[in-house]
C-alpha cells in the first residue's frame, strides 16, 4: 500500500504547490491592476486619509491637513478667514477641493502626487520612510500668488460675478487669480458625507455657478480689449507702420452687409494710438478686414489663443473663429461675434505687450519642497514665443498708457506709475447687461492685470468697461505697489 500512498503524497504536495504558485502569480500579474479600480476602497481611502502637505501663499497655508479622530485620521481643510476676506473662498479656484465623494480639483488634483509624497521625485524619501516605518509625509506646494493682490481683487469684485487675473509680465508667475462668487471647499471636504452631498447639490444648483472658475475655465467675448490684438496684427503685417500712422475712422458699412460701425472717434482720419484711446469701432473693423481673418487668427494664436494656457489648474483655450467672412471678421476684430477669451488669456495679452512682445507661460506653482525643506521642484519661467516685435510692442504699450492717461481707462490712473490699459464692453445680447473688461499693466511692477465683470449691471456704453472694471484692476495694482514700494 505504500506505493499509492506515495502517489497520494505527491498529489497532496502538488495541491499545495498550486496554491503557492497561484498566490505568487496573482501577486506578480494580477493584483497591481486592482490599485486603480474605482471600487477599491482600501486604496481610495488610504489616499484620502494620507496627511497631505500644505499649499502656501507666501508663508500662509491656504490648504492644510489636520488630525481628526475618525476612520480617515486626517481632514483636509482650508483656513476660512473672516467675513471681509473669506480666505477659503478667495483661494478656492486655485486650491480646488479634496472630497471623498467628488474627488479633487485645482491644485489638489494636479499636485496630488506631490502633496501626498507619492511622486516619483520623492521616491527615495518614500523608500526610506517605508523602511524606517516613519509617518508618510507630503510635500509643501508653494504658489506664486500674492495674498494682498488676491484680497484686493476679492474686495474690489465685491461679490459681483467676475474674475481677476494678475500676471508677472517678465516671468508669467500668476500673482492673483480670483473668481467670484466662490465656494468654501471645506463644505465638500468634510467627512460628514451627508453634509458634503448637500453642499455639492446646493453649489451645483446655484444660478450664480460659484464653482465655475471664471478666470480660467470660462470664455467670454472680450469686446474692445481684443482691439489690442487687431492692432498688433495690423502692425505686424505692415498695414499700419506705427502709433502715429493714420487710420480711417469714419462710419464703416461692413462689406456685403448692412451693419454699420459708427461713432465719433475724433475725425475721419486719426492715429492708431488715437483709435485705441477712443476705442474706435469703425477703425478696427476696417483694420480687421484689411488684415484678414487668417492673419487675425495667427496673431491671436501667438498670444496664446487656441491653447490651454495653464495646466496646473483646469483651464480652457480661448477661441477665435477659424473661418469668418469679411463682415464676421470685422465683428471679430472688435471682440464680438465668436471671439471668446478667458480673463487669464486677456491678462497674458497685456503682459506680452508690456514685456516687449514676449508671451510668458503662466504658472501657479513656484516651488515644491519636502517637509525638511529640500526643493524637489522650482518653477522656471518659460517663453511661449514673441507675439510681436519689441518695437510694435512698445507702440501698443505707449497707446495703452495713453488710454489710461486720456482715454477710456482713466479710472485706472495711479500717480507716479506708468499704467497702461484697454477697456472693453461686450454686448452679448440686447436682453442682458454687457460684460465689462479692463486689461492693464503697471510697468514699475511688471504686472499685468485683467479685470472682468460678467454683468456690468448697466446698459452698454463704451465707457462701461473703464468705469466698472478699471477700478478693480487698479486696486490690485495698488496692492502690489504697496507690497513692493
Amino acid at each position: 500500500m505504500n506505493r499509492p500512498i506515495r502517489s497520494v503524497s505527491v498529489v497532496a504536495m502538488l495541491l499545495f504547490a498550486a496554491l503557492l504558485i497561484n498566490v505568487s502569480a496573482n501577486y506578480m500579474l494580477v493584483w497591481d491592476s486592482y490599485e486603480d479600480s474605482p471600487y477599491n476602497r482600501r486604496v481610495l481611502d488610504a489616499r484620502f486619509s494620507a496627511p497631505r502637505g500644505p499649499i502656501l501663499v507666501g508663508n500662509a497655508e491656504i490648504a492644510s491637513t489636520k488630525k481628526v479622530k475618525d476612520s480617515y485620521g486626517y481632514l483636509r481643510y482650508y483656513p476660512e478667514g473672516d467675513e471681509e476676506y473669506p480666505t477659503a473662498k478667495i483661494y478656492a479656484p486655485v486650491t480646488g477641493y479634496y472630497s471623498y465623494l467628488y474627488g479633487a480639483s485645482g491644485l489638489e488634483l494636479t499636485q496630488s502626487a506631490q502633496l501626498t509624497g507619492e511622486d516619483s521625485s520623492q521616491f527615495l524619501d518614500w523608500i526610506v520612510r517605508k523602511l524606517s516605518g516613519k509617518q508618510e509625509e507630503g510635500s509643501i506646494v508653494e504658489t506664486t500668488l500674492n495674498d494682498k493682490a488676491q484680497k484686493a481683487a476679492w474686495k474690489a469684485l465685491d461679490g459681483r460675478k467676475g474674475a481677476v487675473v494678475a500676471i508677472d509680465t517678465k516671468t508669467g508667475a500668476i500673482r492673483a487669480l480670483v473668481s467670484s462668487p466662490s465656494y468654501d471647499p471645506n463644505e465638500l471636504d468634510t467627512h460628514d458625507f451627508d453634509a458634503s452631498q448637500k453642499a455639492w447639490a446646493k453649489l451645483n444648483s446655484d444660478v450664480d455657478k460659484p464653482m465655475n472658475n471664471r478666470a480660467t475655465r470660462e470664455v467670454y467675448q472680450p469686446g474692445s480689449t481684443f482691439k489690442l490684438i487687431t492692432a498688433a496684427a495690423a502692425l505686424e503685417n505692415g498695414i499700419v507702420k506705427d502709433g502715429d500712422s493714420e487710420v480711417e475712422s469714419g462710419s464703416y458699412t461692413l462689406p456685403t452687409s448692412s451693419v454699420v460701425f459708427s461713432g465719433n472717434c475724433g475725425g475721419d482720419k486719426i492715429t492708431l494710438t488715437q483709435a485705441l484711446v477712443t476705442s474706435c469701432n469703425p477703425a478696427f473693423g476696417r483694420l480687421g478686414v484689411e488684415v484678414g481673418a487668417e492673419k487675425l487668427v495667427e496673431q491671436a494664436a501667438k498670444f496664446g489663443f487656441g491653447t490651454e494656457p495653464l495646466s496646473e489648474i483646469s483651464s480652457v483655450a480661448s477661441k477665435f473663429p477659424a473661418k469668418a467672412d469679411p463682415p464676421q471678421t470685422a465683428m471679430s476684430a472688435i471682440g464680438e461675434f465668436e471671439v471668446a477669451a478667458t480673463p487669464l488669456q486677456m491678462a497674458m495679452v497685456a503682459a506680452a505687450i508690456q514685456n516687449g512682445g514676449e508671451v510668458m507661460k503662466p504658472y501657479l506653482v513656484q516651488r515644491i519642497s519636502t517637509q525638511d525643506l529640500r526643493d524637489t521642484y522650482v518653477a522656471k519661467p518659460q517663453s511661449m514665443g514673441q507675439a510681436l516685435t519689441p518695437a510694435n510692442a512698445q507702440t501698443l504699450r505707449d497707446a495703452m498708457v495713453a488710454v489710461v492717461e486720456e482715454g477710456t481707462g482713466t479710472a485706472a490712473r495711479i500717480k507716479g506709475y506708468e499704467v497702461g490699459g484697454k477697456t472693453g464692453t461686450a454686448t452679448v445680447s440686447e436682453s442682458r447687461h454687457p460684460y465689462a473688461w479692463f486689461v492693464s499693466f503697471v510697468s514699475e511692477e511688471n504686472l499685468a492685470v485683467c479685470a472682468f465683470l460678467e454683468d456690468a449691471g448697466v446698459g452698454t456704453t463704451e465707457t462701461t468697461g473703464g468705469r466698472l472694471a478699471a477700478p478693480i484692476a487698479k486696486a490690485v495694482m495698488q496692492a502690489m505697489i504697496k507690497e513692493n514700494p
Binding site: F16, V23, N26, Y34, N40, A46
Partner: protein, 463 residues
C-alpha cells in the same frame, strides 16, 4: 531480528520547544496587533501568554504520557494555526465598532477542543477499536453529511446549504455537520476498505495500459459519486462535494493500488460538476463569480473585496492591525485567509500554506511508516481530507477555484470546526504514535500476554 529493529527517538523535548515557539509567536501577534492599533502593549498580555502556555502544557503532558512516540511536529503546528486564528479574529473584533468579542469565544472553543483532544487520547488507547463498526459509522457519516438537506434544521447561508441550526433557549447555534462527517467517514471508509480491499483490487480489463476495475466493483464509488452530486446540487457546495468524493476515491486507490479508480473518479467528478454547471443556476453563478468577478461588483462583492485586500497587502502585508480586512464580508470565517494575506502579505500567506503542507506531509509519513493496513488508510485519509479542505478553501479565496463555504481548519472562527479538527488531530497523533513506536515494544507485549495465559500445573508428585 531484535538488533535490527528501527527505534524512533521520542522527540518529546523537541515538541515542547516547538510548542513554546508557537505560543510565543501567537502572543507576539497579539501584542503587535495592539501596538499597531492603539499604540500600547495590551494589559492582558500576561493572560494571553498564560492561557497559551497552560493549554500547551496540558496537551504536551497528555501526549508525553499517552503517546510518547507521537509525531513531534503535528501538535506545535496545530497550536500555531489555532493561535494565529484567535489572534486574527481578535484583530477583526477590534476593527468593528463597537468592538466585538468573538476571539474570547473562540478561545473558549479552543479550550473545549483541547478537552476533546485529551478525552480522545485518554479513551482511545489503540486506534484499532475504530475498525469495528464500518457500516454503522458509514451510515452515521452519510447522515451527518446530508443532514443540512433536512427541512427544519438545515439552513442555507450565503448560498450554500451546509449548515444546521439548533435553537436552544432562544438563540440559534449553527454548525457544519460536514466537519464531524469528515472524521466519521474517514474511519468508516478505512474500516470498510480494509475488509474489502482484496475484492476491489481484483483486476478487470486493461485499457490503454490501465487496469479498469470490474463493473461489479464499481458500486461503492458510484454510490459516493451520487452522494457527492447530491451535495453539489442540493447543498450547493462544490467544496464539500469535492472533499468527500475526493477522499473516498483516494482511499479506494490507497487500499487497492488500482490507478483506474482515481482516473475514473476524476472523470466522474468532472462530468458531474459540468452537468451541475449546465443545469443549475447557482453553480453557474459560483463559476461566474470565479472567472469574471468584476462583471458584477455588487453580487461578487465578497470575492472582489477579498482580492483587493490581498492586493493591498502585497508581498509583505500591511502588518498586524494596519490593513482593513474588516471590509471583506465573513472575514473571520470563509475569508480569514484573505485577512492574513492582507496583513501578513504573500509571505505570510505562503507560510500558512506551508504549515498546512508540513502537517499533511507528517500525516502521510505516518501512513507510510505504520505496518498494518487500517492504520495506513486512517492516517492517509485524515491527512488527505485535510489537504483537500485547505486546497478548496484557500484556492477559493485566492480565485484558483470557485469559492466554497468550507472552513479553514484551525483558523476560521467556529466551534464545531475547531473541535472536529482537534479530534482529527488526536486520532492522527494516535496513529503516528503506533507508526513510530519501536516494534519490540509490541512484541514484548505479546510475550507478556502469553505469560498471562493459563499455564498447566505440573503436579509435584510427578517429579
Amino acid at each position: 531480528m531484535e538488533d535490527q529493529v528501527v527505534v524512533y527517538r521520542k522527540r518529546r523535548g523537541t515538541e515542547a520547544v516547538l510548542m513554546l515557539f508557537s505560543v510565543l509567536i501567537c502572543v507576539a501577534a497579539y501584542i503587535l496587533i495592539h501596538l499597531d492599533m492603539d499604540n500600547e502593549i495590551p494589559q492582558q498580555w500576561p493572560w494571553a501568554l498564560g492561557i497559551g502556555l497552560g493549554l500547551a502544557v496540558i496537551v504536551h503532558v497528555i501526549v508525553r504520557v499517552r503517546l510518547p512516540y507521537a509525531d513531534p511536529l503535528i501538535l506545535p503546528l496545530v497550536f500555531l494555526l489555532n493561535g494565529l486564528g484567535v489572534a486574527m479574529i481578535h484583530r477583526l473584533d477590534l476593527g468593528t465598532n463597537p468592538v466585538m468579542h468573538s476571539a474570547e469565544l473562540q478561545l473558549v472553543w479552543t479550550g473545549i477542543a483541547v478537552a476533546v483532544f485529551v478525552l480522545v487520547l485518554v479513551f482511545l488507547p489503540d486506534y484499532e477499536v475504530l475498525n469495528r463498526f464500518p457500516y454503522l459509522l458509514f451510515l452515521l457519516g452519510m447522515f451527518l453529511l446530508l443532514m443540512p438537506m433536512l427541512p427544519g434544521i438545515g439552513q442555507e447561508k450565503f448560498g450554500a446549504r451546509i449548515w444546521i441550526g439548533v435553537t436552544i433557549g432562544g438563540s440559534t447555534y449553527s454548525f457544519q455537520p460536514a466537519e464531524l462527517a469528515k472524521i466519521v467517514l474517514v474511519i468508516a471508509f478505512a474500516a470498510y476498505l480494509v475488509e474489502k480491499k482484496d475484492v476491489l483490487a481484483a483486476a478487470g480489463t486493461k485499457v490503454l495500459g490501465i487496469e479498469i476495475p470490474r463493473v461489479r466493483d464499481l458500486g461503492p464509488i458510484l454510490l459516493m459519486w451520487l452522494a457527492s452530486l447530491a451535495v453539489l446540487v442540493f447543498q450547493k457546495d462544490l467544496g464539500t462535494s469535492l472533499l468527500f468524493f475526493g477522499l473516498f476515491v483516494m482511499m479506494l486507490y490507497v487500499a487497492t493500488g488500482q490507478a483506474g479508480y482515481p482516473i475514473l473518479g476524476v472523470f466522474l467528478f468532472a462530468g458531474g460538476a459540468y452537468a451541475g454547471y449546465l443545469f443549475f443556476g447557482h453553480v453557474q453563478a459560483r463559476v461566474d463569480a470565479w472567472l469574471n468577478p468584476f462583471k458584477d461588483f455588487d453580487t461578487n462583492y465578497q470575492v472582489i473585496v477579498g482580492q483587493f485586500g490581498m492586493a493591498y497587502g502585497g508581498a509583505t502585508g500591511t502588518g498586524w492591525g494596519l490593513g482593513r480586512p474588516n471590509m471583506t464580508p465573513l472575514a473571520k470565517t470563509d475569508f480569514i485567509v484573505a485577512a492574513f494575506g492582507e496583513e501578513l502579505g504573500v509571505a505570510g500567506l505562503a507560510a500558512i500554506i506551508l504549515i498546512y503542507a508540513i502537517l499533511v506531509a507528517r500525516g502521510l509519513r505516518a501512513a507510510l511508516g505504520i505496518q498494518e493496513p487500517f492504520g495506513k488508510l486512517l492516517a492517509a485519509g485524515l491527512s488527505f481530507v485535510f489537504a483537500i479542505q485547505v486546497f478548496t478553501i484557500i484556492g477559493g479565496v485566492t480565485r484558483l477555484l470557485p469559492l466554497t463555504g468550507l472552513t479553514t481548519p484551525f483558523l476560521s472562527q467556529g466551534g464545531s470546526s475547531l473541535v472536529a479538527n482537534w479530534a482529527m488531530t488526536a486520532i492522527l497523533l494516535v496513529v503516528t504514535h503506533y507508526a513510530r513506536r519501536p516494534m519490540q515494544v509490541r512484541s514484548r507485549q505479546r510475550v507478556r500476554s502469553l505469560a498471562m495465559d493459563e499455564t498447566q500445573q505440573i503436579p509435584r508428585a510427578a517429579l
